[in-house]
Each structure stands twice: as structure tokens, then as C-alpha cells.
């Protein structure tokens, strides 16, 4: 079976919400900076951002700039736009983020055919404007 080009889902359909624990991630994304939540005391990374470091219990957080690259850990190939049911080839990927060990993002990958996506593939962040002025980190084939 041949799927053809993988496309990111349309940003104008996508909405997010934030809370004080997660908002710094999304504020950085607005400026096209990929970050992850790092414990300010022990340096352990966690995503999604939560109130307390699961390793040491600290509430101190840092938001370092990451390289914006990563590796596909797993993926699915989907063929219907979930908002309207229309035919639409997109590839949800689970990405291991470089520079923040143990953290992942769930996103779409583009820049290649869906058929060519594979576990271990290197990807680079690709910014998608979404509703309410937010920006979503997606990925392209590196």
C-alpha cells in the first residue's frame, strides 16, 4: 500500500489549553524555541511539564533551549482528518527529544512520504501556527 506525502494536520483546526505549569513551554514555542521542563535542582527532565520534580520533589523549573532535533520512537499512519473525516494522510510520531533525556513530544511529521517514516528516523522541529496565536511544534524529516 502506498500512502504518499505525509502532511501535518491543519493548524487552524488545532486548539490547546495551558496552565501555569505548562505555559512556559508554549510561550517559548511562540518564539520558535523548543524547550522542555528541567528540574532546577537535580536537572531531571520531564514532559509534559508538571508541578513537582518526580525525582527529587523540587518545584524549581528551568526551560533550556533544546537543539530542536529528535528521533522517531514510534508512529502510526492515519488516513482521515479527525475533525471532519475527510481523506488526509498524516503520521503521528512519538519523538525522543535531543538534549532532554527521557522526554518526548507527540506531533506530526512531514517532508517525506508516509511510507518512508520509520523508527529511528532523525527529525527537526517545524513550527505550525494554531488557534489563538499559539504555535505547535511539529517535525520534518531531517
Amino acid at each position: 500500500m502506498t500512502y504518499g506525502p505525509a502532511r501535518a494536520l491543519p493548524g487552524d483546526q488545532i486548539k490547546i489549553t495551558t496552565n501555569p505549569d505548562t505555559e512556559p513551554f508554549w510561550q517559548a514555542a511562540k518564539e520558535h524555541k523548543l524547550t522542555a521542563c528541567e528540574c532546577g535542582e537535580c536537572g531531571h527532565f520531564r514532559m509534559p511539564p508538571t508541578a513537582v520534580c518526580p525525582e527529587c520533589g523540587s518545584r524549581e523549573k528551568k526551560w533550556p533551549s533544546l537543539p530542536g532535533t529528535g528521533t522517531i520512537f514510534s508512529f502510526a499512519i492515519c488516513n482521515k482528518n479527525p475533525k471532519n473525516g475527510e481523506d488526509y494522510i498524516y503520521v503521528p510520531v512519538v519523538v525522543d527529544l535531543d538534549g532532554a533525556p527521557g522526554t518526548r513530544l507527540n506531533a506530526n511529521v512531514s517532508g517525506c512520504d508516509a511510507d518512508d517514516v520509520h523508527i529511528g528516523m532523525k527529525v527537526v522541529v517545524d513550527w505550525t501556527p494554531i488557534q489563538d496565536g499559539w504555535v505547535l511544534p511539529n517535525f520534518r524529516k531531517a
Partner: protein, 405 residues
């Protein structure tokens, strides 16, 4: 160490409504179906529903994913004079058999005498489970998942299945065998939704919904209600049927699985698993038994790959060997001999969520009870122990061993 509540309670009553294709139960209401299941379970036990004084739910007392059970409403509906125990496990279907442990907690604490555990499900178009995740406004947590378009449970499970295929060479053929092996058990079941035998060709032609998963890898979407009654062993002796003894029961799980496919953060080897390893180890420790001691396994089958991964987590085969175990026919039930095939333990002799009906795990408990009573339609010969599992989903997941009295 043996569980302190081992063999002290039993399931004594099972009851259900008919099973309907999604949405077809209307104009029955969800409470009407719940009431019928409870009354049928009480009749099966030989008690009046007015003797129920305990409720032990799971899925955060959900009835489906948008409705909620409320003990006061059920009392009002059924005229129960008083209740002295009302509790629920959290999260979703993963807690289904664990609710029998919750019932046992109430019974052994002498809070109650007859406890009901139930699920009712009515998927009217706006309540369809498969779209609930995608249509909900994303929470701050879910804003890290939903924008990827991983919105339905099948999308989520396909990502886990893909990783298992990558790590262990697991094939789609094994997922198909899970479906075919359990479909073979429904042809003689009057209430089953899918009864026609399934060929490999039909499976291979099934539409790909979330590659690598096909429509037939997804469970049914059905309406209906199922209830079971748990009581203490001394009371169980006076009930109509032989007690299905609660031999071991555990719920929970470990941090590495956590919110599971609601965050996708699980490290290997937990990612490509069912998340049941911690709970599996607990019930084996509670009982001193192992997978090979089970006579029948009722494995929660919302998606076919998760059956294979549970077989690994419970130790029916080694981790990473699920593909070969499944493909060697070891899930199958041989009706001629009433035994397993090729040295395996028969799986889902009722057809499971994939083929009989999907009432969020309750049908697996019912089948476990019938097997150790000796009254199952596809009876495993001399069945002494039945394993029932729930989930895989966000924690807690759970499992139960029922024993013949």
C-alpha cells in the same frame, strides 16, 4: 505471600441485558439496562435485589465514558432500603476485574453483605467512545497529545503495536490470529454480535484504520449492561450456583506505565507492553500460581495487539515471544476435547470484546464465573482456575483469579 483475603469471597450472581450494536439500545435508558442487569444477577444468585447493600464500581463509576452511575439513583430506581458501602476504582476499564477486589474489601471489612459491580454502556452518536477523546476540549495535559491527531484509542494503540513490531519482529499476522482464534468461539453463542468464522483473507482485506491496525483489530462498539454479585464465602454457600471463588485480585501498576498512551512517555520495555507486569506479578505472588496453572484466560481485548502483550506480561510466554506463541495456535479452544491447543491456555472462550460484545470488560468476568462453575457454553474441561484481566489503559489496571469451589 498468600493474599489475606484468598478464597474468602465469591462471585455468586451474573446478569446481563441483550447486547446491541452501538446506539441500537435506544429507547431503553442506561438506568433501565443497569437495573435489568442487576436484577438478573440477583435472580441468578437467588437473592432479592433489595438485599444489595454494597456498590463496587470501576472506571470512576462511569457508565460508558460520558454517563455516570450514582448509587443514590440506583437505590431510588430499585428500592434498596439501605447501603453501607459505595466505592469506585479510578481511571477506566483497566479496573474492571479489580472492582471485585474492591467489593472484597467492603465485604471483609463487614461494611456490606452483597455487593454489586456493574457496567452499562450506551453509545448514542454523541456518546461514541471512539470519538470522546477527540471531541473533548484538550486539557493542558492532553494538549501534548491531541494536536498530533492521536485522538481515538485505536490511534493510540497502533503506536504501541508499531514499537512491539520494531523491537521483536511481531507481525500483523499474529494480530489477525488473535481475532480469528477468538472469533472461532462465538458461532454457538446466542448473544454474540459477530458469529461468522473469520478467514485470514477476510482479515487481510479489513480496512486499515490506523496503520498497523485494521478495523478487525478494534473491538466491537456495543450497548448493554452486565452486573455481578460478590458476597462472603459463608453466604455464597446458600446461593443458587456453585461459588466462583475470589482466589486473587489486584489493581495498580508502576510509574513507567503511568498514564500510558495518554502521554506516550513510557520507556522501553514498558512502551511496547500492556502495562500489566506489576499487577501480574502481584496476583502470582498472592496465589503462588503462574500463567501455566490457568485453565482459561479471559484477556481484555479492546485491541488485538494488547492481547498478545498481556500474554507476555502475565508470563504465558516470554517477553518478545508473543508473536510465535500466538501463531502456534495456543490461544485456541478445541471444542472436541474441551482443552487448549498445542499446549496453550484457551483465551477468550466467550469471544471477547472483539467478537461477542464490548461492555468494558464485564463479559470477561461473566465468562470466568461460568468456566469455574462448569456451565460455560465453551466449557474448558475440569476448569479450576480462570484468569480475568482489565485494561490495558492508564493506571490502575487489574486482574482476578477465580477458582472452582
Amino acid at each position: 505471600m498468600a493474599w489475606s483475603n484468598q478464597d474468602k469471597t465469591a462471585i455468586v450472581g451474573i446478569g446481563s441485558t441483550d447486547y446491541y450494536m452501538r446506539g441500537k439500545s435506544w429507547p431503553r435508558t442506561i438506568n433501565d439496562m443497569a437495573a435489568e442487569a442487576i436484577m438478573n444477577a440477583c435472580a441468578d444468585a437467588g437473592i432479592s435485589h433489595k438485599q444489595i447493600d454494597g456498590f463496587a464500581y470501576y472506571s470512576t463509576a462511569g457508565a460508558g465514558y460520558l454517563d455516570k452511575f450514582d448509587t443514590a439513583s440506583l437505590m431510588e430506581t430499585l428500592g434498596m432500603p439501605h447501603i453501607s458501602y459505595s466505592a469506585t476504582l479510578t481511571s477506566g476499564g483497566g479496573g474492571c476485574p479489580g472492582a471485585i477486589g474492591l467489593a472484597t474489601a467492603g465485604l471483609m471489612n463487614e461494611d456490606c453483605t452483597y455487593t454489586v459491580t456493574l457496567m452499562a454502556l450506551q453509545q448514542l452518536p454523541q456518546h461514541r467512545l471512539g470519538v470522546v477523546f477527540g471531541s473533548a476540549a484538550p486539557s493542558p495535559e492532553n494538549s501534548f497529545l491531541q494536536p498530533s491527531g492521536l485522538v481515538g484509542p485505536g490511534h493510540l494503540m497502533s503506536v504501541l503495536a508499531r514499537r512491539h513490531m520494531h523491537l521483536y519482529g511481531t507481525t500483523q499476522g499474529a494480530f489477525g490470529e488473535v481475532v480469528m482464534a477468538t472469533r472461532a468461539n462465538t458461532h454457538n453463542r446466542p448473544k454474540a454480535i459477530r458469529k461468522a468464522p473469520l478467514t485470514k483473507e477476510e482479515y487481510d482485506e479489513s480496512v486499515m484504520l490506523a496503520d498497523p491496525l485494521r478495523r478487525l483489530d478494534f473491538c466491537l462498539e456495543t450497548d448493554g449492561a452486565v452486573a455481578v454479585i460478590t458476597t462472603t464465602m459463608d453466604r455464597a454457600k446458600d446461593c443458587r450456583h456453585k461459588p466462583a471463588v475470589v482466589h486473587a485480585c489486584a489493581h495498580g501498576g508502576q510509574r513507567e506505565w503511568g498514564r500510558a498512551f495518554a502521554w506516550m512517555g513510557m520507556p522501553d520495555p514498558h512502551f511496547a507492553s500492556s502495562g500489566h507486569k506489576f499487577t501480574a506479578d502481584r496476583i502470582w505472588a498472592q496465589s503462588g500460581l503462574s500463567a501455566q496453572d490457568m485453565d482459561v484466560a479471559l484477556i481484555y481485548d479492546h485491541f488485538s495487539p494488547m492481547v498478545l502483550m498481556q500474554l507476555e506480561d502475565y508470563g504465558f510466554c516470554e517477553k518478545g515471544e508473543g508473536n510465535d506463541y500466538v501463531l502456534s495456535g495456543k490461544l485456541r479452544y478445541d471444542p472436541e476435547t474441551g482443552t487448549g491447543v498445542n499446549g496453550g491456555v484457551p483465551v477468550n472462550t466467550h469471544g471477547g470484546n472483539l467478537n461477542e460484545a464490548y461492555i468494558i470488560g464485564m463479559t470477561h468476568i461473566v465468562e470466568g464465573v461460568e468456566q469455574v462453575r462448569g456451565t460455560a457454553i465453551n466449557q474448558v474441561k475440569d476448569a479450576e482456575f480462570a484468569l480475568v484481566s482489565g485494561g490495558p489503559a492508564s493506571l490502575p489496571v487489574s486482574s482476578l483469579i477465580l477458582r472452582k469451589d
